[in-house]
Amino acid sequence: MQHVRTSGPRDEVAALDVAGVSHSYGPKRALNDVSFSIAPATFTVLLGLNGAGKTTLFSLISHLYDTRRGSIRIFGHDVSRASGEALRRVGIVFQARTLDLDLSVHQNLSYHASLHGIGGREARQRIAALLDTVDMQGRQHDKARSLSGGQMRRIEIARALLHRPSLLLLDEATVGLDIQSRAGILATIRKLVETEGIGVLWATHLIDEVEDGDHAVVLRQGDLVAKGKVADVVRASGAGSIRDAFSKLSRIEPAGSAEISP
C-alpha cells in the first residue's frame, strides 16, 4: 500500500490507510474493494457524484458502521479493533448539520469537549482559541439556531478540532453555502494543513474546490477509479483539466481505471 503522497523522506505512519474495503446495504454494493492511504499533513479530495459511496466511506472510517471487509487504520490504529485510539486522532464534520440548535455555541462545544474527556479550564481555553481560528470569536453565547449555515459549519469545524486531531474528515462541508462562505471555510482548512500538519480528507462533488497541488481519490458507484496527485489523475484520464477528468471518470458506463500511484 502506497500513500497518495508521502510528505518527507521518513518512513512515516499513514494518517489514514483504507485497505480493500467493501460495504453493502443488503444486496446493494456501496463500496467495492476500495484501497488508498493518505499521508499526514496533506489535503486529499475525495471526489464522487451523489451515491458514489463517499458518505458510506466516512461512516466506516468514523466507526458508525463496522468494517466487515477490508481494514481501515488511522495512524496505525485499526478502526474496528481499537476504535477508541483511532477516533481520538480524527475530527469529523458530517454532511448533515449536527449542532444542537437549542444550545449555545459554547454549550455545543463544551459537550463535544466532554465527549473527548476534556473539561474545565482546558475546554474553555481551547474553545476560545478555536472560535478565533474559525473567525467566530464573540459568538459563543449565541444559540446555534441563530447562526447562518456558513457560521454553523465554522462551529462544526471548531468542534472537530477541539480534541486536537491529526486527521480531519469533512463530508461535503460546503454544500448549501454561498461562494464566500465556501471559500472562507476551504481557506481555513487548507491553512490548518500547512500550519498544524493536519491531514485532511475532503469529500466533495464540487470540482472547483480542487487545487492542482491536492491529492485526489475518485469514487464512482462504489469503485475507486482514480487516486494520486491531481495532475497525475488528469494526465492518466487523458483529459485537459480536473473538471474534464472528473466528468470522464464519473461516467456511469464502464470505463477503464485511471489509477495513479505516486
Binding site: T55, L115, T195
Partner: protein
C-alpha cells in the same frame, strides 16, 4: 486567523495521547448529563406536560374514582388510604415511564437529525456512552418526579417524611430500567413517525396492565388472564418497588425483577448500538447519501 498551538503534533509522527483515566470518564459523564438537563430546561413545554399529565390523574381521575374504587389494607399500607395516596407511586412510575420513552424518542430524533453521530464517534467505549445517556435521562426523570411530589404534597397527598428520601433509590433503579427499555426500543425504530407505535404498544399497555391504578388482587378478581399479564409486566414491579420504598420497605421480588430487567434491557441496547453486531448495522440509518 490565528491557530491554536498543538505541541504534540508534528507532521509524520504518530501523535501521543494521554490514556483515559477515571477523571476523563467523569468529565464525559458530566457532559452528557449536563446536555440532557440543558435540553430539558430549554424545552419548557416538555417539562410542563410531564408535570401536568400525572397531576390530571391525581386531581381529576383520583378525585372522581375515590368513591368508586375502594382500596383495602394491603402491604405496605397499615391503614386504609385515600385513593390519591394509593395511585401516587403509580403516577411516579408513569412519569418515569413517559420520561424513559421520551428519552428514546430524543435518541431517534438525535439519530435523524445527526446529533447522535457526535455521541457515537466519541473515543469512549460505546457501552459507557449509552450508560451515560441513560443516567442523564434518569436524572431528568427523577427531577420531574420530585416536582410532581411537591405539588402532590400541597394537594394533601403526603408520604412519611423519610419516604421522600427512601424512594430515591427505587426511582433511580426503576428509571434505569425504563430508560434502558427506551434505549433498546430507539434502536429498533427507524423513523420518528414510527414512535406513535410505542405509545400504543408499550406505554399504554405497560401502564394499565400494572398495579398503578388498582391493586393486583382486584385485577385477579376481575380477570385471571389480565392478572397474569400484569405479573409478566416489568412496570408492575417498578410501581411496587416505589410504593414500598415510600414506606421505608423493600419489596425484594420487585427489586430483583427491576434490577434483572435493567441489566437485560441495557445489555440488549448495547448490542443493538454496537456497530459490529447490532441493529444499526443492519439498518444503516445514520444518514447521508450513500
Amino acid at each position: 486567523m490565528s491557530a491554536p498551538a498543538m505541541p504534540e503534533k508534528v507532521a509524520g509522527i504518530m501523535p501521543r495521547f494521554e490514556k483515559f483515566g477515571l477523571r476523563h470518564y467523569l468529565i464525559c459523564l458530566k457532559g452528557v448529563v449536563l446536555r440532557e438537563c440543558l435540553r430539558f430546561l430549554h424545552q419548557r413545554e416538555r417539562f410542563i406536560s410531564s408535570l401536568v399529565r400525572p397531576l390530571i390523574w391525581l386531581f381529576i381521575f383520583a378525585a372522581g374514582f375515590r368513591q368508586v374504587l375502594g382500596v383495602s389494607i394491603i402491604p405496605p399500607y397499615k391503614t386504609y388510604v385515600l385513593y390519591e395516596v394509593y395511585i401516587t407511586p403509580g403516577l411516579c412510575g408513569m412519569i418515569l415511564l413517559f420520561s424513559g420513552m421520551q428519552s428514546s424518542l430524543s435518541m431517534v430524533y438525535d439519530r435523524e437529525m445527526g446529533n447522535m453521530r457526535t455521541l457515537l464517534v466519541s473515543p469512549f467505549p460505546r457501552w459507557f456512552l449509552l450508560v451515560s445517556k441513560m443516567l442523564a435521562g434518569v436524572a431528568v426523570s427523577i427531577a420531574q418526579v420530585y416536582a410532581f411530589l411537591i405539588v402532590a404534597w400541597f394537594w394533601g397527598v403526603k408520604a412519611p417524611p423519610l419516604g421522600y428520601l427512601m424512594v430515591l433509590p427505587a426511582l433511580f433503579l426503576s428509571g434505569m430500567m425504563l430508560c434502558a427499555l427506551g434505549m433498546l426500543l430507539s434502536s429498533m425504530i427507524k423513523q420518528l413517525e414510527n414512535f406513535a407505535g410505542i405509545m400504543n404498544f408499550v406505554i399504554f399497555p405497560g401502564y394499565f396492565a400494572s398495579p398503578a391504578l388498582y391493586p393486583l388482587w382486584r385485577i385477579q378478581e376481575a380477570s385471571p388472564l389480565l392478572y397474569k399479564i400484569c405479573l409478566a409486566n416489568p412496570f408492575t414491579y417498578a410501581v411496587e418497588l416505589i410504593r414500598f420504598a415510600f414506606y421505608g420497605q423493600v419489596d425484594w421480588l420487585s427489586l430483583g425483577v427491576v434490577a434483572g430487567c435493567t441489566l437485560l434491557f441495557l445489555a440488549a441496547a448495547i448490542i443493538a448500538y454496537d456497530p459490529s453486531r447490532g441493529l444499526m448495522t443492519r439498518k444503516q440509518d445514520t444518514g447521508g447519501n450513500a
